[in-house]
């Protein structure tokens, strides 16, 4: 029910919108590769959106258009109504939309945690007191106060990714785009980063776009988009998308564990709802069978 109410609220307010967005690049051998073709999608204010699809499906290329790291040559991308194609908007757009990348090692600049978190606010040219406040706040939100003076190199990869998120958070963006932030992490780091992403969305009210190929991350998102060969192949609430079994298989994606068990039990005649994705939902459904 709550989910539904949230929907009505967000559906009117697009934070990021792509209109007929296409993008090609030249590969090392000089062939033109079409990475995106006529993508129409939107990120709604306040939601947490999962973008999934196999490696090379174009999800990363799409995400890089969200904060003007790539600018469209065909089609348009609007961030809060501002066109990313206009160079004059770039600085403002990058303040609104922050980005965290796959490998924490390749995005941290400084060898001290707090200095790295300060890097973004320093680039914005903020006054010193403001930077200190923001750094404190970001470290606090990400629970990194205890390691603020350490070298990220000596921390776990999960913590390093949390630092990268804190660094973006300190710039006070409206939206954070996480580009496969858990791909290089061990399972524990993966869970920690997912929890941070959920917290940012639910407690801090930040719009989150999560690129991932782990279905146990997708199931906590409000909406998901499935990409394949530069096209959007499905969009909607995860429950609905996972019901398109053929499509999910064709896209090389997994089903959530609870969904798989539920569907096996259903085929044995147990009346479980087809919308089950999370473990809790499955357990609840099983308990209700009694």
């Amino acid at each position: 029910m709550l989910q539904g109410l949230k929907w009505i609220g967000v559906i009117l307010d697009k934070l990021i919108e792509t209109i007929d967005l296409s993008y090609s690049y030249r590969s090392g051998e000089g062939e033109a590769v079409r990475a995106l073709s006529r993508v129409n999608m939107a990120v709604y204010r306040g939601e947490i959106l999962a973008i999934t699809g196999r490696n090379g499906s174009g999800k990363s290329t799409l995400a890089r258009h969200f904060n003007a790291l790539l600018t469209p040559k065909e089609g348009r991308v609007l961030v809060d109504g501002l066109s990313t194609a206009d160079k004059a908007n770039t600085a403002l757009i990058r303040r609104k939309v922050g980005m965290v990348f796959q490998n924490p090692d390749n995005q941290l600049v400084s060898s001290v945690v707090e200095e790295d978190v300060a890097f973004g606010p320093e680039n914005l040219g903020l006054p010193r007191e403001e930077i200190i406040n923001r750094v404190d706040e970001a470290l606090n939100t990400m629970k990194l106060e205890t390691v603020r003076h350490e070298n990220p190199h000596h921390l776990s990869s999960g913590q390093r990714q949390q630092i990268a998120i804190a660094g973006v958070l300190a710039m006070k963006p409206e939206c954070i785009v996480l580009d496969e932030p858990t791909a290089h992490l061990d399972p524990r780091g993966r869970r920690e980063v997912l929890q941070s992403a959920l917290k940012l969305n639910r407690e801090e009210g930040i719009t989150v776009v999560l690129l991932t190929h782990f279905m146990n991350e997708v199931i906590y998102c409000d909406r998901m988009i499935v990409m394949d060969r530069g096209e959007v192949r499905a969009a909607g609430a995860p429950q609905e998308v996972f019901m398109q079994e053929e499509l999910i298989r064709e896209m090389g994606l997994d089903f959530p564990v609870a969904t798989r068990i539920a569907s096996a039990l259903r085929s044995r005649g147990y009346p479980l709802p087809p919308s089950i994705m999370q473990a809790e939902e499955l357990i609840e459904g099983i308990c209700r069978l009694k």
Binding site: F101, L108, N123
Partner: protein
């Protein structure tokens, strides 16, 4: 097989001694003055003074002496060879011949030259190592940036150059770990890096250098994007979270360094060169 073990340059040994807490500018300036003076030392006495000074710094900063010197280990053989080199090849008109072997003559001037140059290297190394061991890379670069500020006024991109250094120092450890894995991955396929002559050894570099450089360039591409995504456009318009404070201790330390430098200059001038 542990490449990161001997990397002490740029490795900071955290501590809270007065040396650690000095304003980085104080330490950089002191080190710079000492290094410049070292270039003029031509006799043994100033080195004695110098070692007392450095020893005091080591004591004050509570750095284990063995650790401070372990970065020196890999270069000892080269140092020894060069010492022999100087011993036999450096000549002056009126020097005594210590002994001769085949066509080589070891002269007294050569001996002193070898000694003095080896000492210069040792002291240079110790001075810079002490600086980096007691000063974190971040405050080192902050200090450098602040000291270079006057140059920015004449149009030199000092903030950007310092950023280059920040990145270089951050990536040394990351790339060292990567290099270690690359070397191991190739050893696992039967490359024996310790065998073979010059040509064979050179050939063995390809399977290490290609992955290392290609990996480094991939990292660079990602870092460029990540920095741009965080609104970095260069030094212009940037502010800094940390500000440096030149306090009372800094003043005393600077005075101490200056006094020592004066003493050093005096000894250098008093004792004429050995050769």
């Amino acid at each position: 097989m542990e490449l990161t073990k001997n990397i002490t340059l740029g490795v900071y040994l955290p501590g809270s001694t007065s040396i650690h807490r000095l304003d980085p500018r104080t330490k950089i300036l002191a080190a710079a003055i000492l290094i410049i003076l070292l270039l003029f030392v031509r006799t043994y006495e100033p080195y004695l003074l110098f070692s007392l000074f450095l020893f005091a710094v080591v004591l004050l900063s509570r750095i284990p002496v063995g650790y401070a010197l372990c970065g020196l280990k890999p270069m000892l053989p080269v140092l020894a060879i060069m010492w022999v080199f100087q011993l036999f090849l450096f000549k002056t008109e009126d020097t005594a011949v210590l002994f001769s072997w085949w066509i080589f003559e070891a002269t007294e001037a050569g001996l002193h030259m070898g000694n003095l140059i080896s000492l210069r290297v040792l002291f240079l190394f110790t001075t810079t190592t002490l600086l980096t061991l007691t000063t974190s890379v971040v405050s080192l670069t902050d200090g450098l940036e602040s000291l270079l500020k006057p140059l920015a006024k004449v149009g030199l991109p000092t903030q950007e150059l310092v950023m280059t250094l920040v990145i270089a120092l951050r990536f040394v450890l990351i790339l060292a770990e990567e290099l270690e894995k690359i070397v191991k991955a190739q050893m696992a396929r039967g490359v024996a890096f310790d065998r073979g002559n010059f040509l064979q050894k050179t050939k063995k570099l390809f399977p290490v250098f290609l992955p290392l450089f290609i990996g480094a360039f991939k990292r660079a591409e990602e870092l460029i994007v990540a920095m741009e995504a965080r609104s970095y456009t260069g030094g212009r318009g940037r502010t800094k979270m940390k500000t440096l404070r030149f306090g009372r201790v800094d003043l005393y330390s600077t005075l101490a360094t200056l006094a020592f430098s004066a003493l050093l200059v005096f000894t250098i001038l008093r004792s004429g060169p050995l050769y």
